[in-house]
Subunit: 218 residues, 2 copies
């Protein structure tokens, strides 16, 4: 039985592994966990004891298959609960993260699988992130960021990179929502802002925003 802290560390390592095939650093984990390096070192020793990670001093850390599966089970729960909150309890996509952070630690396989069934086996959470299946398999969708589209190209908005409540609320205000088809009309050289067409309406957003919006080319 893993503690919340152990599960959270596994999750952090999982997310950091995406860009760090060779090993995740102690500091990067500490920064993601809002803790300090010595706390992480101590935890890595414990996770290593339990065969959840492969850890050698000063060498960074990587998940074992078992650790990866465990992390994915937590992520699965997190994302299923997010769907539940939005689909069934009228939450907005910017309100669900903190509650899902709590719910993801509830221990009951039956609960997770019944929830999955109740939600009719969703494949994406409210931010467009894929939901792992019970075996820990994740179906990744090819994606690029909006700012990578060229003028004249159109993409379908399929996810956010920055899922901060601030950014999500901003997207709401601009009426840019998951599933929208976005066409790049023009790129302003001066301030690098990007003029986009949203089905019918045109609007302009910053490169920073555009770099946080995942799209698939149409």
């Amino acid at each position: 039985m893993l503690s919340y802290s152990e599960e959270n560390h596994l999750k952090a390592i999982f997310h950091l592994s995406v860009n760090n095939e060779s090993g995740v650093s102690t500091n990067s984990i500490a920064s993601k966990m809002n803790s300090k390096a010595p706390s992480v070192t101590e935890m890595l020793k414990k996770l290593s004891e339990k065969d959840l990670v492969v850890y050698k001093k000063y060498q960074g850390v990587l998940l074992t298959d078992f650790g990866r599966k465990t992390a994915l089970s937590v992520i699965r729960k997190h994302r299923l609960w997010e769907v539940f909150l939005v689909e069934k309890l009228n939450f907005k996509w910017d309100e669900v993260h903190d509650i899902a952070e709590q719910l993801e630690h509830i221990k009951s396989e039956k609960l997770t699988n019944e929830l999955d069934k109740f939600l009719d086996y969703p494949t994406k959470d409210p931010h467009g992130d894929p939901i792992p299946n019970p075996a820990g398999f994740i179906k990744y969708t090819a994606k690029l960021v909006l700012s990578d589209l060229l003028i004249g190209e159109t993409g379908k908005f399929i996810g956010v990179k920055d899922s901060s409540s601030t950014f999500l609320k901003y997207l709401d205000k601009r009426e840019i929502s998951l599933g929208s088809n976005i066409k790049v009309i023009h790129k302003e050289e001066f301030d690098e802002s990007i003029h986009i067409g949203l089905v019918e309406t045109n609007l302009s957003i910053s490169v920073k925003s555009a770099a946080n919006i995942y799209v698939t080319k149409l």
Copy 2:
């Protein structure tokens, strides 16, 4: 922000207060919590600091209004989640307790209230226990135990005193379920067993069981 342990102690004190208007003993709390007296003493000091209980050494403990409200908020969540598990996720009434023990600590008033709405404002949990309203008000129903009914009297089964999974499964097997109308046909003097009529069918149960079934006289 209260810890799980603090919330659990408040809940235990609340439940024990029902039969102990004058003050709940350290040992009784320890036994309900599956812990030891010194751990309870320590916790009582902390809860007292936070004005959740009134505690004087060697004198037993009672909840303050604030403590009572806090306990009821936890109980409310516990029972709402139980309803959710049974009504929406196909759980049986004997499977929900342990999961609700985890879910009851999730912190989000909005979540609780939206869940309440989603479940259409249930007033009882799957074991017949009343669900406190958001203000912490509980509507108690007059009830007596089945073994208190006299021969010839009929009662409606409205709750269980012993909600152990063993007993609940036993009731399932005997096909005695919440809402059944139960008529006492005969009481066996020899072994004190009670013959009851369940709408049409007649069956016999032990006094022990009958003392764990709450009914209202019809």
